[in-house]
Symmetry: none
Subunit: 194 residues, 4 copies
Amino acid sequence: MSKPDKRDEIVRAALELIAEHGFHGAPMAMVAERAGVGAGTIYRYFENKDVLIAELYEELEDKIYAVLLEGYPTEKPMRERFLHLGKTLLRFFIENPLDFRYVEQFHNSPYGVAVRRDKILGTRNKNGGCDIFRELFEEGVSQQVMKDFPLVILFALAFGPLLAVTRDHILGFVALDDTLIARTIEACWDSVRR
Amino acid sequence: MSKPDKRDEIVRAALELIAEHGFHGAPMAMVAERAGVGAGTIYRYFENKDVLIAELYEELEDKIYAVLLEGYPTEKPMRERFLHLGKTLLRFFIENPLDFRYVEQFHNSPYGVAVRRDKILGTRNKNGGCDIFRELFEEGVSQQVMKDFPLVILFALAFGPLLAVTRDHILGFVALDDTLIARTIEACWDSVRR
Amino acid sequence: MSKPDKRDEIVRAALELIAEHGFHGAPMAMVAERAGVGAGTIYRYFENKDVLIAELYEELEDKIYAVLLEGYPTEKPMRERFLHLGKTLLRFFIENPLDFRYVEQFHNSPYGVAVRRDKILGTRNKNGGCDIFRELFEEGVSQQVMKDFPLVILFALAFGPLLAVTRDHILGFVALDDTLIARTIEACWDSVRR
Amino acid sequence: MSKPDKRDEIVRAALELIAEHGFHGAPMAMVAERAGVGAGTIYRYFENKDVLIAELYEELEDKIYAVLLEGYPTEKPMRERFLHLGKTLLRFFIENPLDFRYVEQFHNSPYGVAVRRDKILGTRNKNGGCDIFRELFEEGVSQQVMKDFPLVILFALAFGPLLAVTRDHILGFVALDDTLIARTIEACWDSVRR
DNA sequence: CATGAATGAGTTTTCATTCAT
DNA sequence: CATGAATGAAAACTCATTCAT
């Protein structure tokens, strides 16, 4: 019972520090201190810093996928499903800025590139909630509701603005409320739908 | 003739290394080595690493703005102007992947955030080609051709997918040709237009 | 037992090297090597080189004050008290040439000037054995046993020759024995007494 | 005519910078800049930095000796000659704080120790105005006007307070006027006279 | 002669990782 | 298992000196 506790503390501390200061602004000693454990203890749970970073990312991904799947209107029309996913994701990021900052940092690092490569090439068996998007887009294309783009481009049209908008919100460049969130996602829908 | 040579070599080396390995994966010693100069030489041209990073970014920005303005169809309808900008930018990034990677790294760093803040708040007098977008979007909104969004969100809708798509192309996840580029930018237009 | 050991070794190594070669002739790497520790270890005990230098000085000061106060003839006439202090200090420096060299280096550096300023302006609460001199001189002036000089000048008359003579002894320009020490301090007394 | 000009400018620049910032706070490039010459030019006049430092010191010494000898009352009694030397030197230093700071820096450095050694051991043929003190003290001892001390100690008794007092004056710890100067030197005389 | 751009060895400091306790 | 003191390789930056122009 004490083992998972420590692990969780380490993960939480790493998330906070990396989200705020970046990978290089979060020395292991600082992570250990904030987690309330010894520096060496981290290495009992994670082989090294890279592994800690990668596992932390995977946990976040799982968390996000769980949120996305919750209340996902499987039977509703595609547009509604798209809007649900977009709004849920945007809201999640806005309410969990640390998670967002971390995910962003991760994607913009060598680690992130490798993970994406695996994911897109389908190497990874566990694609998590990502499949939900893939299915949605594939269905959208095949049913001629969405534009006939490669999946990767549909992802870009849907997520690109979403991430950019979240960043701006967190940095205080724009204040997103529910209305604006909904309208933004609808604009994204305009870009993917026929 | 030898002064600009060295400076250029340093800038080129920094661009390559930072684009490929990030700011922290490009030690000054490595930059010097790749530039074919002594380590101390860099400091004759740039006060410190931060200054080198910032100046390199500014040079890239100027380069990009010049490209965007070239052949900009001032008199044509808004849609065409938007498409021109989008396609030109996308093509530029695809043809200059190092520049793209660098700009991305920069934006995702403390430096970049500060610069964006200045730009959005209009503090910087020299906003370069950025103004061209601002004007376009402001005109689009006021003439009710574009959706009535805050500027920041219009930026996100236009650039978000563009950057995402470029990243994927560079990583080899999708092969963008002229047709795909045109269609992608048109999809972006769908998201901003009424 | 190992913690004080390392710290002591570092302090000792720093004292030796700085005494012999000056602040700039004692790189941290050299201090570490002579102390038999890793370079990074120094920074576990001292925040940076300046702090190491300052703390080392304070330790020396405490040591010196302790020596001065030991056997200080509080009740004896002023002349004897003066001679006691002078002779004790001179002997201490001669027997601890490294300490002397270090204190001298320190006083002749920006650090030292700041410390002296604090001391003279009485800003520092802990003036240590320095007070013993101040009291002696103040009493000497008020009782008209000493010349009516500002304190600073009395200090100069008493310590100036003492430091100069120690330096010469250490450099081998003169060989001070107990008799010569006593006579030298008596000469100093002649300069301050009425 | 232009050669000595440059040399003088270099020497002046070095004096100013070293006096103010110490040897290590006066890079050759800075000396060159302040002197208004190219960095390489310094090396046409001085083999290296050490030589520059040493020659600068010698020039200062000559200057000081010249001042001391001017108006030296050869025929007057010893006391008056002593007071003349002391007061003249003290005044000179107070009026030329840069010179003083430089001389002090020099004495507290490896360079200075070597020079003093040469001087005291009489190795150097050119002892400059130092001889004037030597003669005075030797005469003082032999005529039993001064205490029977080794020369080195008499030097210490005379110069020690003088340098200390100058330092304090420059640092603003005491304000020396003509009266205080005279009284201070008289106090020094008390310490050397029988 | 004069220059000042170029150099690279040397300096302080940080931090991921290990290992004796 | 947990610890955290110790490590040393690596980073940014400085500066005395040289040498092509």
